[in-house]
Each structure stands twice: as C-alpha cells, then as structure tokens.
C-alpha cells in the first residue's frame, strides 16, 4: 500500500514524474549504503556569528566550526550533543536557512553552498526540514490544507488530481484524518501538529529531510508514535534523514549512523552499534552514561562532567573538550585532534580514545576519576 502511493494516479507535472522515476530504483541502492554515492556531502562546514562586545568591539561566536560528514541515500544520520553545540545551526545551514561562513555542502554531487534562490528552487524540493516546536511551526491563520499545500503553491506545482487530493493523501500518509483538511492548527494536539509539519515536509517528495528535534517538544507516548511514523516513512519513501536530537534513546531507535557534536565540532562519528556499544571519545562516554536508567540507580558507572561548556566566543585551544576531560594532558591543549578513523566505520577526534564497552565494569575507572575531579 505504501509503495504504491506513487503509482496510484497519473501525474501530469513533468517534474513530478521525473521525481517518481528517480525514487524508484533507490530501493536497491539503499540496501548497501556504504557502496553508494553520498546524497549529501559536507566538508569543513562552519558558521560564525558576529556579536558586539562592548563599545565597537566585535567578536565571533563559532557556533559550528568545521564539520565533515556524508549522508547516503535512504540513510539516517543522527546528530547529537548538548544544548548549544551547534546541532540546530548545522540543520539550518543544510536547508540553507542560514548562510554558511565556510565549507561546502554538496547535494548529489552539486555544490549548493552558495546557490542563489533560483538555483535553489529544484533543490528546495529535495531538501526539507521538520521543526522542533509544533506550536510555532504552523501558521495559526491558515487551515491545515493550506499549510500542507504551501510548498506546492510556492513552487507552482499542480499535482494531478488537484492540490486537495494530494493534501488529503499526505494527511493519510502521516496518519491524520483527511477530512480535517479545513481545520486550523489550534484545533490539534502537539503530536497531530507535528504530523502536519511532517506532511508539509513530504509534500514536495524530498530525498532528504532535516528533522530538527522533531519529538523533543512532545510527551513520551506521542514521541514514540511520531518516531515510528518517521521510520515508516523512511522505509517506504526511501528518505534520508539528518536527525537532530539530544535524546540519545530516540536517536538509538531511529538512526543508522550517529555523529556526536561538542562545541561546534564532531568529536565522534560512526555506526549506531559502534557509538552506543564501543564509544571511544571520552565525551561520547560521558554523554551515554548520562542517560537516565531506572535499572541502574546509584553512582555506579555514571561519568559526571564538571563545569559548563566553554563559550563558543573563545573556544579552548587544541581539543575543545579538554577543559572538562578527565584524560586531558598537555598535548590536548596544544594540538587539536583530527577526526580520524581507528578501524571500522568509526571516526574519533581524540588523542587518547577509550576502548571497551560503556560504563559498568571497565568504565568504572573513568567514573572514579571524574568523581575525584568533581570534588
């Protein structure tokens, strides 16, 4: 049923039809993601915001400072990290809501980093975004039908069978009642609103969706429904996702690959299993050990980081994590560790990577050391 969505009706718009064809053979490709050409290739991506400090003084907030990653067709990449580490900025740069300061973004081999509005047009259809706050992301003055039809309207696409039919089809895809076409956002709950936002992102049949914390504003039971919906869509429509989140459990559930960010940089990137089972960067370990787990109460293997994240106005020299790292040595202050692969698909930016499984038995040493630091 899901797969046949495309063939259900004749599509007159030429653009639309070509999109259908392009999406069709992808199912074979996505089985072996490692072999495929990346859909999205990001190199050295940076965003610096100028801020005024005092009288005539100006300095830069290095919100994102040199990211490298790839997203293959049909793949989900999770972007995790604590608040203020540059996840959202990255997501906004990917869909070109923000202009990158440096670096390149390539989509299907085309450099789109500084493409103008006209060149972006076809691209806008391939790259869509789902927002965090379901209350702010829907225009309160528009009906649900108009909200979902907006991407079609601004791109001048007239789907066969009419806009209304397409909108109702989309409402059905995201699990809402198509009869609610004429309702207003304020008549829906948070979860339903997020589904409307998802339907809007799907309207143009994108290949990649940037999901900026799509579930963090929802309560837990609704979170599961929305994440399951996204998974379902990802499988059926062969979508690639950049999934931005701070909830590690949700990321583990949803993403095939995970990138851990700290202060505007990726400190570790790898397959889900590697990141969650064998994290090598101290920060990843600390982050993972911070997951609340009712089965493991007590100080046990929890790594407690002390202090705050340093200001991105003046990030620490060398490794950015060294100010809070229990393994930091002199080299960490002088030399910035590169994001290098140490076997497998995992890449870590650390001079002294950890080994072995997380926490509990062997991770105890780290825990103890940190405990000392915190006193």
């Amino acid at each position: 049923m899901w797969g046949s969505l495309g063939e259900r009706e004749e599509r007159s718009a030429a653009e639309y039809r070509s999109r259908e064809r392009r999406q069709a053979p992808m199912s074979e490709v996505s089985v072996a993601p490692s072999a495929a050409e990346p859909l999205l290739r990001v190199r050295g991506l940076a965003k610096h915001f100028p801020v005024r400090t005092g009288f005539r003084g100006q300095s830069l907030v290095r919100a994102v400072d040199g990211l490298d990653f790839d997203v293959r067709p049909g793949e989900t990449l999770g972007l995790v990290g604590e608040s203020g580490c540059g996840k959202t900025t990255t997501g906004r740069m990917l869909v070109r809501l923000l202009e990158p300061t440096a670096g390149t973004i390539e989509f299907e081999g085309r450099d789109i980093t500084h493409a103008g509005r006209r060149q972006l047009r076809p691209l806008r259809q391939d790259l869509q975004i789902i927002f965090q706050d379901p209350y702010a992301s829907l225009n309160p003055r528009h009906t649900v039908g108009r909200i979902i039809a907006m991407p079609l309207q601004v791109n001048g696409i007239e789907p066969p069978g009419g806009v209304k039919a397409r909108v109702q089809e989309l409402l059905e895809i995201v699990g809402l009642n198509p009869e609610h076409y004429n309702r207003y956002p304020h008549e829906f709950s948070g979860g339903q609103r997020q589904r409307i936002g998802i339907a809007r992102a799907l309207a143009l049949r994108p290949k990649l969706i940037v999901a900026d914390e799509p579930v963090s504003a929802l309560d837990v039971s609704i979170q599961a429904q929305v994440v399951n919906l996204l998974r379902q869509l990802q499988r059926d429509l062969e979508l690639a996702f950049v999934f931005i989140a701070h909830d590690l459990a949700v990321v583990r559930h949803f993403c095939q690959r995970v990138a851990v960010m700290y202060l505007g940089k990726i400190v570790e990137i790898g397959d889900r299993v590697d990141i969650y089972e064998r994290p090598q960067h101290p920060y990843t370990r600390a982050l993972l050990s911070a997951i609340p787990d009712v089965t493991k109460l007590g100080p046990g293997g929890r790594i407690r980081l002390t202090g705050d994240v340093p200001t991105p106005l003046d990030p620490p020299s060398g490794c950015r994590f060294r100010t809070r790292c229990w393994k930091a040595q002199e080299i960490c202050a002088t030399e910035e560790p590169a994001l290098v692969s140490r076997g497998g698909g995992q890449a870590i930016a650390c001079h002294f990577p950890e080994s072995g499984p997380v926490a509990g038995e062997s991770g105890g040493t780290a825990g103890v050391t940190v405990e000392e630091v915190s006193k």
Partner: protein, 334 residues
Amino acid sequence: MSLSPVEGVALAEIESGGPEVPERKDVVGRSPGRLAWIRLRRDRTAMVSGGMLLFFMLLALAAPLIEMLYGIGPKEQFQSLLDGFGMPLGYSGGVSGDHWFGLEPGLGRDIFIRLIYGLRTSLFIAFAAAVITATLGVVLGTLAGYLGGWLDAVINWITDLTLAMPFLVIALALTPTLVLRFYGEREAVSPAFGVAVLIGVFAIFGWTSTARLVRGQVIALREREFVEAARASGAGLGHMVFRQLLPNIWAPILVSFSLAVPQFITSEAALSFIGVGLSDETPSFGRMIYRSLDYLQTDPAYVFFPGITIFALVFAFNLFGDALRDALDPKSSR
C-alpha cells in the same frame, strides 16, 4: 483501510481528543478570525459602542437625505428667529419643533443639520487619514522589519525624525503656508482644499506608530518556524508578506486603526478650533465649538450639542477599539 498501525493510533487520538464530529462529510474548522468575531459578539460593551458607531456613520452617510427630510440646509440662515442682539429666541438656544437643536447665535443657522454635516466632515477626514497612515505604516513597517539591514536603518531614522517634530507647531506653520501657496491673500479657500491639507498633515505625522508596531510584529514573526518553513520551501517575498506575515498581524493593525480614528477626530477639532484647520464654511465640530465660546455665558446650549456629540463619538470609538483588542487577543488581560 489499514495503512499502518501508526495511522490507527493517530485516528484514535483524534477521535478521543478532538470534539465529536457527528457528520463526517464536512469538517470545517473555526478560523481565528471567526473565533474573535464570536468573542466580540458576546461582549456587550462592544455591541453597544459598535451600534453607536454604526448609527453615527449612517447619519454621516445619509446627511443629504436627512437634509431633505428635515427640510433645512446647513447654510440656511434664520435671522427672523433671532432677537436684536443676534441671540436665538425661545428657550435653550431656540430649540423648537422646526429646529431640534436650536440656532446659532449671530448667523442663525440650524445646529442640528450642521452637526450632521460636521459629523460627515469629521468622519471623512478621520477615516481617510487613518487609512492613509495605516497603509503607509504597514508598508514601511513590513519592509523595515522583514528586509532589515540598511533599509530598516533608513526607515527607522525617518520614523525618529518624524516623531521628533512637534506636531502642533508644524501644523500651525504648514497649513497657512500651504494655503498661501495655492490661494491669494484675500481669496476664499475651497472647503475641499482645507480638508485635503488636514488629511495630508495627519498622514505625515500619523504613520509612525503603525510603522513601529508592524515592524516589531514582523521582526517577532520573521524568526517563527512557520515562516522559516515557507522560506525553506522557496517562497518569495510576496508569499512571505501577504500569506505568512500579514494575516498574523492584521489584528494589532485593526486595533491601532480603530484607536487612530478618534484621535484624528479630536485632532481635526483641535486644529479647526485654533483656526488652522477648516474654513468656517465647512461644517465641523471644531469650528462650532470655537464659535460657541463667545456665547458660553449667554447661550450655553450652543456649546452643548457639538460637545456632547464629539464626546459620544470619540468615546464609542475608544470603547470599541478596546473591545476589539480584547476579542482579537484573548490572552491580554483586562
């Protein structure tokens, strides 16, 4: 129709959460505008003041019709009904069956029909000025707020400059100069020209508050996620402004409009009162009150009728504007 387990869940969510929908054919939501209208309908103050406003507007619009029915024009003089000192005969300024509000001392014109025409002048000037200032304010405010950058700086600078200019002094200086520029020293100024000058003066000074308001609202909305969603879909400036931004700020614009109208009514009266506004030929509240001051002791009824009317008009406008604000923004506390 079993698309996926997800859908089943979501449909259940709708059915349990949302209001029951008996007929499944026509589900039409109530728009925010409609909800505001329902709230307004429930507000008794709004209904009473709104009814008064409607009454005043009908009177102003139907002025020629009323003149026909009443049988007396605004320029007709009834010298025979005045005594030797030019004071109207009879009680309270000559109130009678023929002249409901009495006669003007001196010229002997009928006060009632002059009030009706004065209402027409006042409302026309106030509405025209409010429409022009609102349009100017919305255009400049949206441009400044949405495009930002140097345009914002320039528009802000002009706004500051306009706000810094003393309204009364400029109006006092500007109006006679303008009149002299087009008319000779002794020539009679046409009533339409006087009205146009007044509207022009109001337009120059009145747009700043709307522009400030709209700019602030647009800046607040510009960063909202639904606006970013439209931008991420490739929407152009026209779609952004007319479909995404303006529908969300028409409520404060409407409120500021409805509060600007009474302000212009009083300003017109004030300017006419000091003598820089309309000529004596045009019926206007300000002129009537100005003339009546000479007779404050001998014929208090003359100041009473125009005074009460302008008070009622402005009061009704302000009450209605406040009620409108409450209806459009239910979160604002009373």
